[in-house]
């Protein structure tokens, strides 16, 4: 009898020790965040900028709930089916507590559907399609402005500037989900605000187009003096470089629905001057928080601080702080913490609206110009023309 009691007590003490040890081990185990991102292909630079912003955020945040942050970064190649496969692998095999990132709308929508099935929080940093609004209680949008926000920002800027307001715009779009939604959002607003559109049914360009001369000749022949571009952000500088060689950039202003990356602008040089675009951040913003981020990005990556890097940084911080606020890593707690979450970062206060799980953010309308002397060696700057408040660009709540 005594023996039985002794063995029972010993077993009980052992189980307590194991549980306690496991709890300690759990505390030290990193919190894994899955980052599906486009890191190959023509548009890889967008993915690289986003990834860098997320990596910098992880470096600055250091820990969540006292546990180190581990980013699992996977290349989804810009393909929805690959994105879903990688997301599933990260959730089921790698045990990530949330998904963060994605560069493009097509991939974002596919992973959003998967995240809903997997019941895993997913915060996008660069997806612009309005289809993401309220798509799932597990899916959130932060980072890059959505198409309707971008269109509104451009519309406000165009209306405010007589040099832009009185132009006729030719709309050219990449032939995929985002290109269509970008064009339709702008054309809809333009028609409501009396801005002239040359081709309301807008022209589509296949994703494989590298030689833009056919479109350049067509735009030139149309006799327009403005162009609204819904070409992917890496494509815009290539288009404008070729257009400048045809003398077209002397005749038109390009308003870019997809804000070109700083790296792409640098590659194109002087040919990239004169592109108007809305984004959340530019290194031209002269606030302490903005300059602090720009300096930190430059020191970490030795690259001109990109808008998309800052946007992804804010998105990542939003997620990290939400997990902190949730107190644990259960999906339901995280998504509860994300709804209404705020973060005050490089471009001011950003909030995720509980209405549609999408961010409300300040924005800037910029125009590319030759950069003054700067610490980043940049030749081109996105010069801020107008600061826009979250309630101005919406969407309304």
């Amino acid at each position: 009898m005594k023996k039985i009691i002794l063995i029972t007590v010993a077993l009980f003490i052992c189980s307590l020790t194991l549980n306690f040890g496991s709890a300690i081990a759990q505390e030290k185990k990193p919190i894994k965040i899955g980052v599906p991102m486009t890191l190959s292909g023509m548009a890889a630079q967008v993915g690289v900028d986003n990834r860098n912003g997320i990596v910098l955020a992880a470096k600055h945040k250091k820990t969540i709930l006292g546990r180190p942050i581990e980013l699992l970064i996977e290349d989804e190649e810009g393909k929805p089916e690959v994105g879903v496969r990688k997301a599933e692998k990260m959730v089921y095999k790698d045990g990530v507590v949330a998904l963060l990132g994605v560069a493009f709308s097509g991939v974002g929508l596919a992973i959003a559907e998967a995240a809903d099935k997997m019941k895993i929080p997913f915060l996008t940093t660069n997806v612009m399609t309005p289809k993401l609004y309220g798509i799932s209680k597990y899916v959130f949008r932060c980072g890059q402005l959505a198409d309707d926000q971008t269109a509104m920002a451009h519309m406000l800027g165009i209306k405010a500037d007589p040099g832009l307001k009185n132009r006729t715009y030719y709309v050219l779009a990449d032939d995929y989900a985002w290109g269509h939604s970008c064009s339709e959002a702008f054309i809809d607003l333009a028609q409501k605000n009396g801005i002239k559109i040359h081709n309301p049914k807008y022209d589509n360009a296949a994703l494989t187009v590298a030689d833009w001369s056919p479109f350049i000749s067509k735009i030139s022949a149309a006799g327009v003096d403005g162009m609204y571009s819904c070409l992917r952000s890496p494509v815009v500088p290539r288009f404008t470089k070729q257009a400048s060689e045809f003398g077209l950039m002397k005749k038109i202003i390009v308003v870019a629905g997809g804000s070109p990356s700083e790296a792409d602008l640098e590659a194109g040089g002087e040919a990239e001057v004169g592109i108007v675009t809305a984004c959340a951040w530019s290194w031209d913003i002269n606030t302490p928080a903005s300059q602090k981020f720009a300096k930190a990005y430059w020191e970490e990556f030795k690259a001109v601080p990109p808008s998309q890097g800052a946007q992804a940084y804010v998105g990542a911080m939003m997620l990290f702080h939400a997990i902190e606020k949730a107190g644990n890593t259960t999906p339901e707690k995280i998504i509860q913490a994300l709804r209404g979450a705020t973060f005050d970062g490089p471009y001011g206060k950003v909030r995720i609206s509980p209405k549609d799980n999408s961010m409300r953010t300040p924005a800037v309308l910029t125009e590319t110009k030759l950069a003054p002397k700067n610490p980043y060696g940049a030749k081109i700057i996105k010069k801020v023309l107008v600061h826009l408040k979250p309630e101005e660009i919406g969407p309304p709540e």
Binding site: L39, S40, G41, M42, A44, Q45, V48, D175, D203, N204, A205, A206, T208, V209, A210, D211, S213, P214, F215, S217, K218, S220, A221, G223, P234, P237, R238, K241, Q242, E245, F246, G247, A263, D264, A267, G268, G269
Partner: protein
């Protein structure tokens, strides 16, 4: 100048420009197939490598024209390594082997390119006079695209001379038609294969350097160009150089006009055209294509 005239003049020149670029790159692929009987899936990656070599040479301070001369030679050097190490050992095997192995080479070259140069897009800087807009009777047109047409013409003249007037060229033409007889006549076929492969790579390199200032240098540029080159080859007939000239121009016109008038279905038209020609004329539009 009426805008319609401007539009059509620019469009015709655009068609010729695209056709010219496709021709230079496709000719290299065609030569390699015609004599070596190898479909080199790494050809697009070699074209991209030519562009990256050109970018690095110009970025280091070298004159663009010197880069246009040196870069193809560097690509030829890489090509020689590929020919000796990958192609030559499997020369007598069915073509499937070379397809699979050159696909592997393509993946390897793509990875190395990304590793060395990164994913950031590049433009090859050109001398100021090449970058300017010139006016042809009042019609603005990039001078660089006219330069591209001139280089295409020079390359084709050079190739025609090589094939028609030199011993090497005559050997190449003979080997393309009756390789066994050429071997019996004492011509070193092994050396000929090496020279032809290098020549094909030179064309890829020239195409890469020419495309760099125009289309941007980026990691996937080779894949997209390879597909277009295969379309040119199939339409023109595998191994037919005359066919390649006509089909490159045809694809250049159809693709460019397609982008203007049908926009999103332009490439569909190109592929349908290829399918129709292939079904009606399996040896290409001039009937000179060779099958394995």
């Amino acid at each position: 100048m009426p805008s319609e005239v401007t539009f059509w003049v620019q469009t015709v020149l655009n068609c010729l420009g695209l056709g010219g670029l496709l021709l230079i790159i496709a000719i290299g692929l065609n030569i390699i197939y015609g004599i070596n009987r190898v479909i080199n899936l790494a050809h697009g990656s070699l074209y991209a490598l030519g562009a990256y070599f050109g970018f690095s040479l110009v970025a280091s301070g070298l004159n663009f024209f010197l880069a246009l001369l040196i870069s193809p030679l560097l690509v030829a050097g890489v090509g020689l390594l590929i020919e000796r190490s990958v192609i030559n050992p499997i020369r007598k095997r069915p073509m499937l082997y070379s397809l699979i192995l050159t696909y592997g080479v393509m993946v390897f070259l793509d990875g190395m390119t990304k590793y060395i140069w990164g994913v950031q897009p590049r433009f090859i800087a050109t001398p100021a006079f090449l970058s300017q807009t010139i006016y042809l009777g009042g019609i603005p047109y990039p001078f660089y695209r006219l330069f591209l047409l001139m280089v295409t013409a020079l390359v084709m003249i050079g190739l025609t001379y090589l094939l028609g007037k030199t011993k090497l060229g005559i050997s190449m033409r003979a080997a393309s038609n009756i390789p066994e007889m050429v071997s019996v006549l004492g011509i070193n076929m092994n050396l000929l294969h090496v020279i032809v492969f290098a020549l094909g790579c030179i064309f890829a390199g020239i195409g890469g350097v020419l495309a760099g200032p125009l289309l941007t240098v980026y990691p996937m540029m080779g894949h997209e160009m390879l597909i277009s080159c295969f379309v040119v080859l199939v339409i023109g007939g595998l191994g037919s150089l005359r066919g390649a000239v006509i089909s490159a121009l045809l694809v250049g016109f159809v693709q460019t006009l397609g982008y203007i008038f049908i926009t999103d279905y332009a490439m569909v038209v190109v592929y349908v055209m290829m399918a129709v020609i292939l079904s009606l004329m399996p040896r290409g539009i001039l009937g000179e294509g060779k099958f394995e």
